[in-house]
């Protein structure tokens, strides 16, 4: 680097750290602002910092964080020196800040590997600076249409990001007709992964986000559906169909309220059992994505399989809290597909359930709350007396309460809470297992309250 550039990088890194330290002293976990400061001083900072780092990028609509935490455990268990953007800072500025914090002030990264969860819209910008070794595409669903637009728009963004990454091996979800269609448009090496069997005994009624063939617009037929538009699709008109996955889940022998037991089939034909220590059919997909990434990175599959049984879930992703002997699970919701999967999960449990939804409509949540009407909350009524109550809170609590009324939940079971304290106190006063489903900013807000009140760790720790 020329000296001027070195000085520029040094100043940017110093400013980034100073901004981050300042925010921490104020007791705030800001990860975006320090990155913006650094980018202002050195727009190409990410490119410089990421240059000699082996980078894995995880992107897509749902499952990014959980898949990243699984891969992270596999990296750690394989003895690889890595860092990851764990705090959820997944835009260009946040990712830049994470690289900055893990580099020396002279711009040399202190780790061999970087594991980066990338927002699906920010991926095309991040990929301009990072020459990824592997890219994991989880899926494409409708999500915050005010921000991301239609699914085809998200798909376009992913394609541009991949085109920026000619050296990356792609791990693509074969069961997602949208993601899998990218394979024909790029020349990267591809490792398809998929689930060969249904993942739920009973499923919610879902609208498909992609009923018509992405190539010829004819309606797909399905051999089986796992959830949403995922499964064994085939277009009877043009012949586009689910590619055969190299890494497959070939059997799900058990899936309950705590975990799933499954069997992988690997590219060499070997089969391997694994326990996934998070419940929910969608986490079987995340586990499969992790196994595919492990294959691409050359990790020992048996080590990866073991990692799936012991990884630490991301904040608010089925995260479990124990307060005064009572267990709460917090499950982030952000779009119909993800929310429906949580309902699928709850429906397949067998205990009583106290259900809480916290709906905010800030920019990170999506300013349009219409999507709650696309979620099959009617499933909750089918749980009958097993559903003891429905609590709602958040900026749009009243919209949420109304949604539950129209889902035929008896209005006497619906309770609105205007602040965290009254909500958490009410939950703790009940004996039932509690599931709290907050949108993104509501999750941060609630987590912050739990951290301060009960001493759980903050999201940036």
């Amino acid at each position: 680097m020329p000296n001027m550039m070195k000085l520029r990088v040094f100043c940017a890194l110093l400013a980034c750290r100073a901004a981050r330290l300042g925010l921490r002293l104020l007791g705030r976990g800001g990860t975006d602002f320090p990155g913006r400061v650094a980018l202002k001083l050195c727009p190409n900072l990410l490119g410089i910092l990421a240059k000699n780092v082996t980078t894995v990028i995880v992107t897509g609509t749902n499952g990014k964080t959980t898949t990243s935490r699984m891969i992270e455990q596999a990296l750690a268990d394989s003895g690889i020196s890595y860092f990851a953007n764990k705090s959820g800072a997944n835009l260009l500025s946040g990712v830049t800040a994470e690289f900055a914090m893990h580099s020396t002030l002279f711009g040399r990264c202190r780790y061999d590997y970087a594991l980066i969860e990338s927002d699906e819209a920010a991926f095309k910008a991040i990929s301009r600076f990072v020459d990824a070794k592997a890219i994991v595409l989880t899926n494409v669903f409708r999500d915050q249409l005010d921000r991301y637009g239609e699914v085809t728009h998200t798909l376009d963004n992913l394609r541009i990001g991949v085109e920026n990454s000619p050296n990356a091996v792609l791990c693509i979800n074969a069961d997602d007709s949208l993601c899998a269609s990218l394979a024909d448009e790029v020349s990267n090496e591809i490792c398809f992964y998929g689930v060969n069997v249904p993942v739920y005994a009973a499923r919610v009624q879902e609208v498909s986000d992609a009923p018509y063939c992405i190539r010829c617009k004819h309606e797909y037929t399905y051999d089986y559906v796992t959830y949403g538009h995922l499964g064994g699709y085939r277009c009877p008109n043009c012949g586009y169909s689910r590619p055969s996955p190299k890494v497959a889940v070939c059997e799900v022998s058990r899936s309950d309220a705590e975990s799933s037991q499954l069997r992988f089939r690997l590219p060499d034909g070997k089969e391997l059992d694994a326990l996934v220590n998070l419940p929910g059919g969608y986490n079987i997909y995340n586990a499969c994505a992790c196994m595919a990434a492990g294959q691409v990175l050359g990790l020992n599959p048996e080590v990866t399989a073991l990692s799936l049984s012991r990884f630490e879930c991301g904040f608010g992703r089925m995260e479990q809290f124990e307060i005064a002997g009572k267990k709460l699970r917090m499950i982030l919701i952000k779009n119909p597909a993800g929310c429906n999967q949580v309902l699928n999960f709850l429906r397949n449990t067998n205990t009583n359930v106290l259900f809480t939804a916290c709906l905010n409509d800030r920019a990170q949540d999506g300013t349009d709350v219409s999507w709650i009407w696309d979620v099959d909350f009617e499933q909750l009524t089918e749980m009958g007396d097993r559903l003891t109550a429905v609590y709602v809170s958040g900026v749009r609590a009243d919209d949420m309460a109304l949604r539950f009324k129209y889902a035929d939940i008896p209005v006497e079971k619906i309770h609105v809470f205007r602040d965290n304290k009254s909500l958490i106190d009410a939950i703790l006063a009940q004996n039932e297992p509690a599931y709290i489903m907050p949108t993104y900013t509501a999750m941060l807000n609630l987590r912050n309250y739990l951290s301060k009140t009960y001493g759980f760790k903050q999201f940036w720790e």
């Binding site: 249409l145 005010d146 617009k217 300013t367 219409s370 696309d374 749009r396 109304l402």
Partner: protein, 243 residues
């Protein structure tokens, strides 16, 4: 009494929670002891307008638009035009609203011909109108309708069509003339997602009354317990007024 509700293209025109409107109409009939059947009619299925009292058309993604236009041209467009003239009740939202008009012209000049049941047309612009919005509605005795708009099309009404309301906050039909939505015979059309009807129960009841009276003559609807509905409506109205 009963209403036969037709949900047009439920698997394609299903963005932004618009199906909640059908749920709302159905529930508000049942809560009053009336019957409500909902039938989805999608691509490739014939539409017999005589079989229904009330039609709902939601908004969709651009991707499936060609599929729809081809299907409409295969007979449904004629049925819909005839049903509108015959005084059948319609609720059309966003993309469905635009589709009832004559055409859509994209910002780069391509024209797409639509059903032509209503004297209105839409022109695309690059900047979208997105956000919570509110309009007054003369048929609702001074009550305001709250919802969420998200559209790049700007709709202009012809002389034969009245607006559904007047914009108080937000863009509405085109961001210029303060109109929102369209009224023609028994057609109600609007850009409002949100979902629209659950938190605007008076509008839901107006549409139901309209459809019931076309079939049964004068009808009076008993009032319902709308506390949760009012809360959702009023919290948004307050927020917009404070903004």
């Amino acid at each position: 009494m009963e209403l036969r509700i037709c949900h047009l293209y439920p698997d394609v025109l299903n963005l932004y929670g618009d199906r909640g409107n059908v749920m709302c109409l159905q529930h508000r009939l049942r809560w009053r002891g009336m019957e409500a059947t909902v039938t989805g009619v999608s691509v490739g299925q014939p539409l017999k307008a005589d079989d229904f009292d009330l039609f709902f058309i939601g908004g969709g993604q651009d991707f499936e638009q060609e599929v729809l236009l081809e299907d409409l041209a295969g007979g449904k467009a004629d049925e819909i035009r005839a049903a509108v003239e015959d005084g059948k009740t319609f609720l059309a939202i966003c993309g469905g609203y635009q589709m009832l008009g004559s055409y859509y012209k994209t910002w780069d000049g391509q024209q797409c011909d639509f059903i032509g049941a209503l004297d209105l047309y839409t022109e695309g612009e690059q900047e979208r109108l997105i956000g919570n919005f509110m309009f007054s509605c003369p048929e609702l005795n001074g009550l305001n309708v709250v919802g969420f708009e998200n559209h790049s099309g700007r709709t202009y009404l012809g002389s034969g069509v009245k607006p559904l309301g007047t914009i108080l906050y937000g863009g509405g039909n085109n961001g210029r003339d303060k109109t929102e939505g369209a009224r023609y015979r028994n057609v109600f059309a609007t850009y409002s997602h949100g979902c629209l009807l659950p938190k605007n129960p008076e509008l839901a009841d107006l549409i139901l009354k309209n459809a019931l009276e076309r079939r049964y003559g004068t009808v009076s609807l008993e009032s319902l317990d709308d506390v949760l509905e009012r809360n959702a409506h009023d919290s948004m109205e307050r927020r917009l007024k404070q903004a």
